[in-house]
């Protein structure tokens, strides 16, 4: 009996909140129409997803994206942030040429020593395991070059080093999910290792795990002339 006494006002309050009993009519109309629109759009997206056409052949397609991406620097034990973009040029159904650019935000405060900037450019090849379909996992080997700047202490003064170029060893793993012929969602994780010396008094390691995820675009650049079958030619010697 006691519990129903407590529960009843709570239920009434919840119902009033859901049905907007105390909201003015105009506001309620706007809220309801937005809700119905979102509901309809999401229902439409889910029902239409399998019907969306995707490219049957990846060869000749390009996929590209740009987003904000995080990273984690192991030696510095700090999180990093980037404006990043990458692209895949499919010159084969299973193999794509990939390139990526990472522009870093300031990694530490003005009065701190350590990495100031950690920009990078990568290029390599990705191998896509599965035949063309919606789900497209891949692994990539992407060597790169880094542009690194750091602050260091010399004679009780903070000095900023020049931007130094360094070689980077890198590999990546990820997947794309082709929602339609024009766009896809993706997740990519990239491991990077390198060391910068430049004008610094001691070398600084830039071992990092970079991540990116979001919405990307895919377009057909050229129409492939023939399919790659990779089958050896069989000839009859007696012929």
């Amino acid at each position: 009996m006691e519990s129903t006494k407590i529960m009843r006002p709570l239920l009434v309050a919840t119902l009033n909140y859901i049905t907007h009993r105390h909201t003015c009519k105009q506001k309620l109309l706007v809220i309801t129409s937005i809700r119905i629109l979102i509901l309809l759009l999401s229902a439409l997206a889910f029902t239409q997803l399998p019907a969306q056409k995707i490219w049957e052949e990846r060869k000749g397609c390009i996929r590209a994206q740009g987003n904000l991406a995080p990273g984690y620097l192991f030696s510095q034990k700090i999180a990093s942030g980037y404006v990043a973009g990458d692209m895949d040029l499919f010159f084969d159904n299973r193999v794509s040429f990939t390139g990526a650019a990472w522009y870093s935000f300031a990694l530490n405060r003005k009065n701190e020593t350590g990495l100031k900037a950690n920009h990078a450019l990568f290029a390599g090849l990705n191998y896509h395991f599965l035949k063309p379909g919606r789900f497209d996992p891949y692994i990539g080997f992407t060597p790169g070059i880094g542009l690194v700047q750091a602050t260091y202490e010399e004679n009780d003064e903070l000095r900023k080093s020049k931007l130094a170029v360094l070689p980077l060893v890198s590999a990546s793993i990820g997947f794309n999910y082709y929602v339609g012929w024009i766009f896809h969602v993706f997740v990519k994780v990239q491991g990077v290792t390198g060391q910068v010396s430049g004008t610094l008094p001691a070398p600084v390691r830039v071992d990092e795990l970079k991540c990116m995820a979001g919405l990307g675009w895919n377009l057909r650049i050229w129409k492939p002339k023939h399919k790659d079958t990779y089958m050896p030619v069989m000839l009859d010697r007696n012929r």
Binding site: L125, T199, A202, P203, Y230, D236, R237
Partner: protein, 225 residues
Amino acid sequence: MERIRWLTVMLMLGIMPVTLHASVKRDTLSDTTKHVYPKQGGNFSFGLRNTCSLFSEHTASSFGAGVGGHFRIQVTDRVNTEFFADVLTTNIKNKAHRTDYHFGWSVMFYLINPRAFNRKLTPYIVTGHCFDQTVIKINGVNGERRARFSSALQAGLGCHYNITPKFDISLCAQYMLHLGKELHTDETPDGEIEIEEHKNAGWEGHLLLSLSVNYKFLQLWKARR
């Protein structure tokens, strides 16, 4: 009449093994038909690589890592050529660093028939020549810096792992012998690093391990079958 019949039977029995053998021979796929792979001469492939360097001459030098690229032009089924450029940095006891720029070419000879790269593994021997710019710099803004330009010879062993006939991952180990003035570092008893240059030609070398990904883009010329 009876004799003629027996003679005919005997003759047929005598010929039968020959005809059977002939029919067996015709049925065997390996004898009459054989995989004939397209000729590989003219293949042009492009690759990107990471290279590790292990110096053998100097105790003060250590592990170096680098990045580079190459393209390959295949001459015949068994012979391939590689034109490469690399940049490697090596940390020297956290007090100095060495940067090596390599650009050169190599000839690769496949130890087994690659069968148009339909085999998963294709081992090869490699030898070649390159030009090399070495820069050693003591760490810091005003650190001493010395450079030398030289020539080098390299030879080693490698292996392609053919994921598809067009796409491969290659691992290669080469010993590179620098021919020219010797440039190296020495550590003084008080722990400082000094750069030394010897005018005599030194047999300075390093082991290079490279891991690359390659894709055969096009065939520059059509090899005759």
